[in-house]
Amino acid sequence: MTWTCEQTEARLSDYLDGLLTPDERHEFDMHANTCEDCAQFVASVSHLLTGLHSMEQVEPPPLLIYSILNQTLGPRETKRGWRATFGWLSGLTSPRFTYSAVSLAASLAILLAASGVSLRKPKLADLSPVNIYRSVDRQAHLVYAHSTKFVSDLRVVYEIQSRLNKDNDLPSTPATTMPQTAPGKSPGSTDSTRPDAPRQQNRANSIKRELEVLAMEVPAVSGTLCGQLLRRRIP
């Protein structure tokens, strides 16, 4: 397609605004590079656009807005006396300001409580950076210690539970499961007149041994949890 000078003039804005297709742009450039008149023409309009886009917004006269408002809303009364001084206080009753103020107060209270400042008996010394740091550090260590102890206790309980469950699943020794020669005694039944029946005693002994092993493995809690269990009489 041979690009003409008429086409250059007709599509100049599209070219400068980047609206030509790649083929059209190529044809346009080819023609502008070979036609001196079109090259000058394109350069002058490009220069014009540079000037147009460099024109900044002009500031309107300062009183224009007030003049417009006077003509539309009417003359605005000027506040005098104490109304002029304290008129801004009316803005404090807006819901947005109230909500923001309450949120800010709550956040401050939470921060002060977390930093160890007593809200009932506040002291100026509590607000010093050193005291705040010490208080926060102490709180953090306490929280860490409680968490560690909690996790450790959970582990102990889990160990005990798993060993008890394992003990219940263990097969009994032949000697202990051999039914005693007693008339009318069905297998597996217990005789309440003989509390130290071999099966129950063996189970109790097994639990005791397990708890002793556990106490050795977890010495930190042996004085509290396992020790109490060991002292209990297992029927």
Binding site: L16, G18, S44, L48, G51, L64, I65, L69
Partner: protein, 211 residues
């Protein structure tokens, strides 16, 4: 030769970014105005005064006339805001349309007087020069060029002048200009093209040459 597409990308980026946010805020303010909220009207005035004033100033070339016309625009908008419908487009577009109609009316009314008026009587306006990293010599050259372009604009016919102002100074999209001028989009593009070419010829006649 400048690289093509730079101007179009800049125009689209600026207009596209502001469109959605401004449209929603304007719509809310208009609703509040219709319910009698004076502070909403005040906010609308503050948001649009600068833009309307600049359209009037670039069209008339005269600061005093631009001030008077801006007041007339807002007065007319205040009286007819009840007739605004979102189907007309954004509130800013509708307001620009009212401004344009008023400018054309003013142009026709003062056609005879314009022949004897001198541009030297125009109130000098100070442009808000944001240097944006330009060197002082560049700033001076651009300032001189923009002053020459401002003078050349007043010599353009009204229909070409308004098209160039809305596209190249107000960065409106073709679709918005179509709504403002109430003409087909092809006519908008044609007027913008002819306006730019005619403006370049006027500058050449004034002795302004591309650097």
């Amino acid at each position: 030769m400048l690289a093509p597409g730079n101007f179009g990308v800049k125009l689209v980026a600026v207009a596209g970014f502001e469109a959605d946010d401004t449209l929603e805020q304007d719509a809310q303010l208009v609703q509040q105005c219709l319910q009698g909220d004076g502070s909403a009207w005040e906010e609308l005035v503050r948001r649009h005064t600068r833009r309307i004033f600049n359209i009037c100033y670039r069209f008339t070339g005269n600061g005093t006339e631009a001030e008077d016309l801006s007041q007339e625009v807002f007065l007319r908008v205040y009286k007819t805001i009840g007739s605004y419908r979102s189907a007309y487009g954004g509130f800013a577009t509708w307001m620009t349309s009212v401004t344009r109609n008023l400018l054309i009316d003013h142009y026709r009314r003062t056609k005879r007087d314009r022949i004897t008026d001198s541009l030297e009587d125009a109130m000098p306006m100070v442009e808000n020069k944001e240097s944006a990293g330009r060197r002082p010599d560049q700033q001076l050259l651009l300032g001189e060029l923009s002053s020459q372009v401002h003078t050349a604009l007043t010599k353009l016919s009204p229909e070409l002048r308004e098209a160039v102002i809305l596209r190249d100074l107000q960065q409106l999209e073709y679709n918005e200009i179509r709504q403002v001028l109430d003409v087909p989009e092809g006519t908008v593009k044609s007027r913008i093209n002819r306006g730019r070419i005619e403006l370049a010829r006027i500058l050449q006649q004034m002795g302004v040459r591309p650097s």
